[in-house]
């Protein structure tokens, strides 16, 4: 059973995220870290692998990512948690890729791996985009289930329970499939010291676009179909209305809420 987990290195949350005014892209020059939501996906993959091992089916967890060379550091965190292998598509030509371009590259990398299951984290902390898995599933022509809070494998199929705006769904799909896990699915483990020290010697592959057979025109800024035109400050919230309570404070709140059509 081979599980591929798509992960991403994102600017470390403490570094103030900013968009570079010149390139109009996210400034990724500071510290990077494994996207926190991807840790849930790695954790789930490790749990599934452990379950299959007990059921005597060999498992392998591969983390796959697209990013600059130094993203290997973040991939190592996944290896330290227990993943077996890391594959990084590192190619300058891929920088600035949008959803269409990124999904094309990842799909090619995944096809090369031929996993039984592909996992994604809930969203990316650097883009609030929350949409990559469906695009990748489309390219692979595999079923996709998102927001999964409980995942079970049963022979050649999987069942996912997900929370939606209306309640919960239980969806079943045959393998191979793509699943995006919700952050409520698990609490990612701390890598053990042994895991951290062993991570460096686990296989780590760096691929170029050419290795995947992706032509340069389909990736990066060239292959992207969206563009950033300008940046501006968000509209201010507006002034605060502040009053002293003279006994009528509660009424005034009600009036305010009514005026805003909140009640």
């Amino acid at each position: 059973m081979k599980i591929a987990v798509c992960v991403k290195e994102v600017p470390d949350a403490t570094a103030r995220k900013r968009i570079d005014a010149e390139t109009k892209r996210l400034d990724r020059s500071g510290e990077g870290a494994l996207n926190a939501f991807d840790a849930n996906a790695v954790e789930e993959a490790l749990r599934l692998k452990a379950a299959t091992v007990e059921g005597e089916v060999e498992g392998e967890v591969v983390v796959v990512s697209m990013g600059p060379e130094r993203a290997l550091n973040s991939l190592r965190k996944a290896l330290a948690m227990g993943a077996d292998r890391a594959v990084l598509v590192a190619d300058d030509g891929a920088a600035g890729s949008d959803l269409v371009a990124t999904s094309a590259v990842l799909a090619k990398a995944l096809e090369r791996e031929q996993p039984d299951l592909v996992l994604f984290g809930q969203q990316s902390s650097d883009s609030d985009g929350a949409v990559l898995w469906a695009a990748v599933a489309e390219r692979l022509r595999w079923p996709v289930i998102s927001q999964v809070a409980e995942l079970t494998l049963d022979g050649g199929s999987l069942t996912g329970k997900r929370q939606t705006e209306f309640g919960y769904d239980v969806i079943r799909a045959p393998l191979p499939a793509v699943v995006a896990v919700a952050d409520s699915i698990n609490e990612p483990r701390y890598p053990s010291l042994k895991g951290i020290m062993g991570a460096k010697s686990k296989p780590q592959e760096t691929l170029s676009l050419a290795d995947l057979g992706v032509d340069a025109g389909s990736a990066g800024g060239q292959g992207s179909r969206t563009e950033v035109l300008a940046l501006s400050d968000p509209p201010s919230r507006g002034d605060t209305q502040k009053i002293e309570d003279d006994g009528t404070g509660a009424e005034k709140i009600v009036a305010f809420l009514a005026e805003r059509r909140l009640i």
């Binding site: 995220k17 968009i19 996210l26 959803l99 269409v100 999904s103 094309a104 883009s127 609030d128 985009g129 929350a130 949409v131 990559l132 898995w133 469906a134 695009a135 489309e138 390219r139 022509r141 595999w142 079923p143 996709v144 998102s146 997900r162 929370q163 939606t164 705006e165 309640g167 919960y168 769904d169 239980v170 969806i171 799909a173 045959p174 992207s224 179909r225 969206t226 563009e227 950033v228 035109l229 940046l231 501006s232 400050d233 968000p234 919230r237 605060t240 209305q241 502040k242 002293e244 309570d245 404070g249 509660a250 009424e251 709140i253 009600v254 305010f256 809420l257 805003r260 909140l262 009640i263």
Partner: protein, 320 residues
């Protein structure tokens, strides 16, 4: 240019968000706007679409489309786009819509801009306003080719009346094999006590100013009458007054409900970053210098032990 809006439905109603996007698109005055409704037994929903700006409402019905799964909808919309030469497809954010929009982008090799809060004519045809980096920056985004796909943020604006023909046109969809692989086994409505913090439209939060753990009852009652969830600051969770699952803030949950009522909360930045993108913030605190008053929309300086019960009562009275 031709615009198609995906109209999501649940039960007997078209979703408010979809109707809002539809009326926004119609209001652009950039050409005819169509809606698409996909499911089983959904034709009757088409009428609502006309009232909000759809010149045409494409409807496809099939038992296999009953479950709200994304991939068959990608097939349906892609087919329409090809048949009708549609240039722009718009969605209102939802779990389902995000999956459809993204799958569609890959199917059509089309650009997808998400977290949109507005759309206008300009650039190569359309320019969107995108809120990024935790609402700290607004980005003008465009598409370099057609078709264009846009995914609007939930609650970015309300639906408006835009009378239009709403002519229903049926079409048959060819479903792909992989689109039929996933099946809905069970669907259930959440019947638990109130929404979770992440999903809640309204949150009432309590902080140190409550004075003691028992006073959380005041917060809970207000939340109940507003149909909202209860949240807590790190200080009171640290003190054991409320569970960690309710903690909002830098080291707790991040929320962006439509309404956030902060009771006895000072508004230190550690808390603020967890709730600052709430659409409307109301604060009650006895300290006039509390930082929360700097970013709340409506603030009352006073004793929450007096104000909260009165507020709850007044809201209860309005309901009945």
């Amino acid at each position: 240019m031709s615009i198609l809006v995906f109209l999501e439905h649940h039960g007997d109603e078209l979703q408010k968000g979809s109707l809002a996007v539809l009326s926004k698109a119609a209001g652009l005055g950039a050409g005819d706007v169509a809606g698409v409704v996909i499911g089983s037994g959904v034709e009757r929903l088409a009428a609502q679409a006309g009232a909000h700006g759809a010149a045409t409402v494409y409807v496809t019905e099939d038992a296999r489309l009953e479950a709200p799964l994304p991939q068959p909808r990608v097939d349906a919309i892609a087919q329409l786009v090809a048949e009708k030469g549609i240039e722009t497809i718009l969605f209102a954010q939802s779990i389902l819509a995000a999956d459809i929009a993204s799958g569609l982008a890959a199917r059509l090799e089309a650009g997808l801009n998400w977290q949109l809060t507005d759309l206008a004519a300009g650039g190569n045809g359309l320019v969107g306003k995108q809120s990024a980096l935790g609402d700290s920056v607004v980005v003008d985004v465009g598409w370099t080719s057609t078709p264009r796909i846009g995914l609007f943020r939930a609650g970015a604006f309300d639906p408006s009346e835009q009378a239009a023909a709403g002519t229903v046109e049926h079409f048959e969809v060819q479903l792909q094999e992989h689109s039929l692989a996933a099946e809905m086994v069970e669907q259930a409505h959440a019947e638990e006590s109130g929404p979770s913090i992440e999903e809640a439209d309204v949150i009432v939060a309590g902080g140190r100013g409550l004075g003691e753990p028992e006073k959380f009852a005041l917060v809970e009652e207000l939340a109940k009458v507003l149909g909202g969830a209860v949240a807590a600051t790190r200080a009171v969770v640290d003190a054991g007054w409320y569970p960690y699952s309710a903690q909002v803030g830098q080291t707790g949950k991040s929320v962006s409900p439509t309404l956030y009522v902060a009771c006895g909360i000072s508004g230190a930045i550690q808390h603020k970053v967890g709730m600052q993108s709430s659409k409307t913030i109301v604060a009650i605190n006895k300290d006039p210098n509390a930082p929360i008053f700097e970013f709340a929309d409506f603030g009352v300086v006073g004793d929450l032990h007096q104000i909260l019960p009165k507020l709850t009562e007044a809201l209860q009275a309005r309901k009945s």
